[in-house]
């Protein structure tokens, strides 16, 4: 059963340069226990749509034009402020990017952990303290009891990110949303954090939405990958088929711009031509069409719907063209000079 179902979500921003169409008619769902990796570049709408459904979007300049977000039978978009506040931090935990600025510098880590617990649970006194120590221990922070009375600047970047995860997980949320949670960290710390999240998923069965621009992180962590561009889903499906048989030219471009792991090939890394679309004046058709070497005339004219594709159930693409056929034709052309 779907834990979260987003229907027809459209978000716009009013800016001096015109209306920016940040999220356009977004539809998807996340099953209970699933880990969804959302990939996309800055401005793809991956973070904005999450902030919108949690009521964290600054309005103005943001504006939710339409949409529903059903979480466990309740439409988050229709809830009152106070009802939504009760869900945030409790049933839905959030972990933000940049642990340097996401913790309040003048409050102790203990205080920042405590306030989310006292808000959403009935813990008090010794039980509360024990839970705080337990949480820091779960996320692998040594000497948790002593660390509670310290301030964020006394923690390293990786340790702060662990604190953020402890805060996000504090009330045993059914859904944990992480937005670029490992982006600011070096690779070894990133690997430790990913291990930790996998462990937490295993132990508590938490549903996770992991937002990143890093395909590698998604490959390691997610069950399902969702590639976003220009406020739309370009491709979506189980990780394996999407990585091995991409059907969107954008996904294909992203995968080809990654260095091959292990193999020391002489292959030049692929570079997606052009620059991200100006979402104040989005292209009329497929938002990726202007940068897509395989784009057809129809791509420039008409927005493609998300359709089923490939052999694996759940693999969907929004494209008018048939990528495998086009790639086969291309390689044939290269082989017959």
């Amino acid at each position: 059963m779907a834990l979260l179902e987003i229907k027809n979500l459209t978000v716009e921003f009013d800016t001096p340069g015109g209306v920016v169409h940040a999220v356009n008619d977004l539809n998807y769902s996340v099953e209970a226990g699933e880990t969804l990796g959302i990939v996309g570049e800055s401005g793809s709408g991956k973070s904005v749509h999450i902030l919108a459904l949690l009521g964290l979007l600054p309005c103005p300049p943001g504006r939710i034009v339409s949409g529903e977000a059903w979480f466990d039978g309740r439409n988050l978009m229709a809830l009152s402020d106070s009802d939504l506040r009760s869900i945030r931090g409790g049933e839905i935990g959030m972990v933000f990017q940049d642990p340097m600025s996401s913790l309040n510098p003048v409050l102790t880590v203990g205080r920042q952990l405590k306030e989310v617990l006292t808000r959403h649970t009935n813990l008090t006194g010794r039980a509360l303290k024990a839970r705080m120590v337990e949480l820091l221990d779960i996320v692998g922070i040594p000497h948790p009891e002593a660390r509670l009375s310290q301030y964020p600047h006394e923690f390293s970047g990786g340790m702060r990110q662990r604190v953020m995860i402890a805060i996000g997980m504090a009330c045993n949320p059914r859904l944990l949303i992480a937005d670029e949670a490992t982006t600011a960290l070096d690779v070894t710390v990133q690997a430790q954090i990913l291990d930790l999240v996998r462990q937490l998923k295993h132990d508590f069965g938490t549903t996770v939405i992991w937002i990143t621009h890093d395909m590698g992180v998604v490959a390691e962590l997610a069950d399902t990958i969702q590639v976003m561009y220009g406020g739309r889903i370009m491709e979506r499906g189980p990780v394996r088929p999407v990585f091995h048989d991409p059907r969107s030219a954008y996904t294909w471009g992203l995968l080809n711009s990654l260095p091959d792991e292990g193999a020391r090939t002489q292959r030049r890394l692929y570079q997606i031509p052009g620059s991200p679309p100006d979402m104040a004046n989005p292209p009329p058709g497929d938002p990726f069409a202007p940068r897509n070497p395989f784009a057809t005339e129809r791509c420039h004219r008409e927005v493609p719907p998300l359709r089923d594709v490939g052999n694996m159930p759940g693999h969907k693409v929004a494209a008018w063209y048939d990528l495998p056929a086009l790639l086969a034709a291309q390689s044939e052309k290269e082989q017959t000079p």
């Binding site: 964290l56 103005p60 009760s86 931090g89 913790l103 309040n104 003048v106 989310v116 301030y151 805060i167």
Partner: protein, 306 residues
């Protein structure tokens, strides 16, 4: 931390010494008090005699050395005008000044923080515009003009409050309000801009994502951080007001330090000027020192760097 306190203490003493030295030499530029103290037509011999009696016939550096030596022992000499210990004369005026200053700061803080918070939280609404316009007006209005207008309206026309003087609570209302207008306007404007900065911080979004109640986010996350610059400004304003608000004290005939020093300057009463300025400098330096300590309490990052 002990090292920090000792260092700050040393700096404080240095600052007070600097102020005292400047005041000593500047007062000598004012002119010869002996000529002013004696009746018009006094003979040169009388003037010379008085100068010798006051020690003004000594070379400047000798006078300065003697002054420092005495000042360290708390002796600022005898007031030419009052014929009593100069510091005693100044200290007698301190309660009146302190009463006025602290009342004005308290009123200003309450009005300023409420107005500043409203302006920040109601960003873009009409109320923000109104609050900020009033604050700008309050900061720009000259104190002497505001004081006189208040006297005209509340004391002369309505007869509700006395025009000036010292003693009862009724005497305190107008001068304190006059000063509080400037204080609250400054605090409101600073707090608003400080809060708008803090509201953009990532940790405010984190606090909201935790589902915290609105007042928890406001008091523990927004206000707690936004108040740090306000503390500095309040301290500086307190220091200034404790040094005597010359104009306000004069307009309302308030017997404070500010008015005393103005009178001492007119009479070239060197000991009182020197005692008064030294006291003001000491108060100012002490308050700055306390603010530095308070900073450490408010912001743990500063504490860590000491």
């Amino acid at each position: 931390m002990t090292g920090f306190i000792l260092r700050r203490l040393g700096e404080s003493l240095l600052a007070i010494w600097g102020v005292v030295t400047i005041v000593f030499f500047v007062t000598r530029i004012l002119g010869d008090p002996a000529a002013l103290l004696l009746p018009i037509g006094a003979s040169d011999a009388d003037i010379q005699a008085l100068r010798a009696q006051l020690g003004l016939d000594q070379p400047m550096l000798v006078q300065y050395g003697q002054f420092l030596l005495n000042a360290v022992q708390g002796d600022f000499g005898v007031s030419f005008q009052h014929g009593r210990d100069a510091m005693q004369v100044v200290l007698e005026r301190l309660p009146a000044t302190a009463q006025l200053a602290l009342t004005a700061i308290a009123m200003g803080l309450v009005i300023g923080t409420v107005a500043g918070s409203i302006a920040a939280l109601k960003r873009g609404k009409a109320i923000e515009l109104v609050v900020m316009a009033v604050a700008l007006l309050g900061q720009a209005t000259p104190v002497f003009w505001l004081g006189i207008m208040l006297i005209l309206f509340f004391a002369v026309n309505l007869g509700w409050l006395p025009t000036g003087g010292y003693g009862t609570l009724a005497h305190l209302v107008l001068p304190a309000f006059t000063l509080a207008v400037f204080v609250s306007a400054s605090i409101a404007r600073l707090l608003r801009s400080s809060m708008l900065e803090i509201l953009k911080e990532d940790y405010i979004r984190t606090a909201k994502a935790k589902g915290l109640l609105r007042h928890t986010v406001f008091f523990w996350h927004v206000a707690r951080n936004a108040l740090i610059p306000v503390v500095t400004m309040t301290a500086i304003l307190t220091g200034e007001l404790l040094g005597g608000s010359v104009v306000t004290e004069t307009v309302f005939s308030w017997p404070g330090i500010g008015r005393l020093i103005i009178q001492a300057i007119e009479a070239k009463d060197f000991p009182v000027i020197q005692a008064g300025i030294t006291l003001i400098a000491a108060i100012f330096v002490l308050i700055n020192f306390l603010v530095d300590l308070l900073y450490g309490v408010l912001d743990p990052r500063i504490r860590a760097n000491r």
